[in-house]
């Protein structure tokens, strides 16, 4: 079993829709939870991260972590065509190494 499992997608939504991207993890030692965004033929770039449980909001994006159920979510409000990308969840613990989900490819149609 992989340490981080991500809903595989692909996901296609109309412009303006609310998008929910989800991951689960197995190692309770993980403390930091990241979301990276990767545009086609580019490297991943950090979108946002949270520490431990709770919510973090940044504009149209909200990251949510529930450590009791080991569940990670990213919500995108009012989705735009420019949000079309692959989204990768990742976790980190004290040793510093990151573990990635396989990614979910999102397409937002105008």
């Amino acid at each position: 079993q992989k340490e981080v499992e991500q809903d595989p997608g692909p996901l296609s939504v109309p412009e303006g829709a609310i998008v929910s991207l989800n991951c689960t993890y197995s190692n309770s030692a993980f403390q930091y939870f990241m979301w990276y965004r990767q545009y086609s033929r580019k490297g991943p770039e950090l979108l946002m991260y949270t520490y431990s449980s709770g919510n973090k909001e940044d504009g149209r994006f909200t990251a949510q972590v529930d450590k009791s159920s080991k569940y990670i979510s990213l919500f995108i409000r009012d989705s735009q065509p420019s949000d079309s990308a692959t989204y990768l969840c990742a976790t980190t613990h004290n040793a510093g190494k990151s573990t990635f989900g396989d990614g979910t490819t999102l397409t937002v149609k105008p």
Binding site: Y32, R41, P44, Y51, L88, T92, G96, S98, G103
Partner: protein, 114 residues
């Protein structure tokens, strides 16, 4: 612009040939990493270096070697390329010890082994 530079951007290589992918960072990060990304398999860690002069094996190290002679450079060498090493390779760096250990990635090197 601060970041990571990878070279080459893409390369077609005959099986059995030796190849070195170059990676340079200008952020003075202590840690550097090499990942490969394959469809359906996500990002897999090949090798990493927590600081100059040290290296470690990741999830899929076989067939690859790395060196870290200084802070900025972290080349990845395929001693004798095989078709299963066809992939997109990403170099990344981070400042370990800073909590979240956020990775900064390069733009990738697309390698095809025939």
């Amino acid at each position: 612009i601060a970041g990571i530079t990878q070279a080459p951007t893409s390369q077609i290589l005959a099986a059995g040939r030796r190849m070195t992918l170059r990676c340079t960072q200008d952020m003075r990060h202590n840690a550097m990493y090499w990942y490969r990304q394959d469809l359906g398999l996500g990002l897999r860690l090949i090798h990493y270096s927590n600081t100059a002069g040290t290296t470690g094996k990741g999830e899929v190290p076989d067939g690859y070697s790395v060196s870290r002679a200084n802070t900025d450079d972290f080349p990845l060498t395929l001693a004798s390329a095989v078709p299963s090493q066809t992939s997109v390779y990403f170099c990344a760096s981070s400042q370990q010890g800073s909590g979240a250990n956020v990775l900064t990635f390069g733009a990738g090197s697309r390698l095809t082994v025939l």
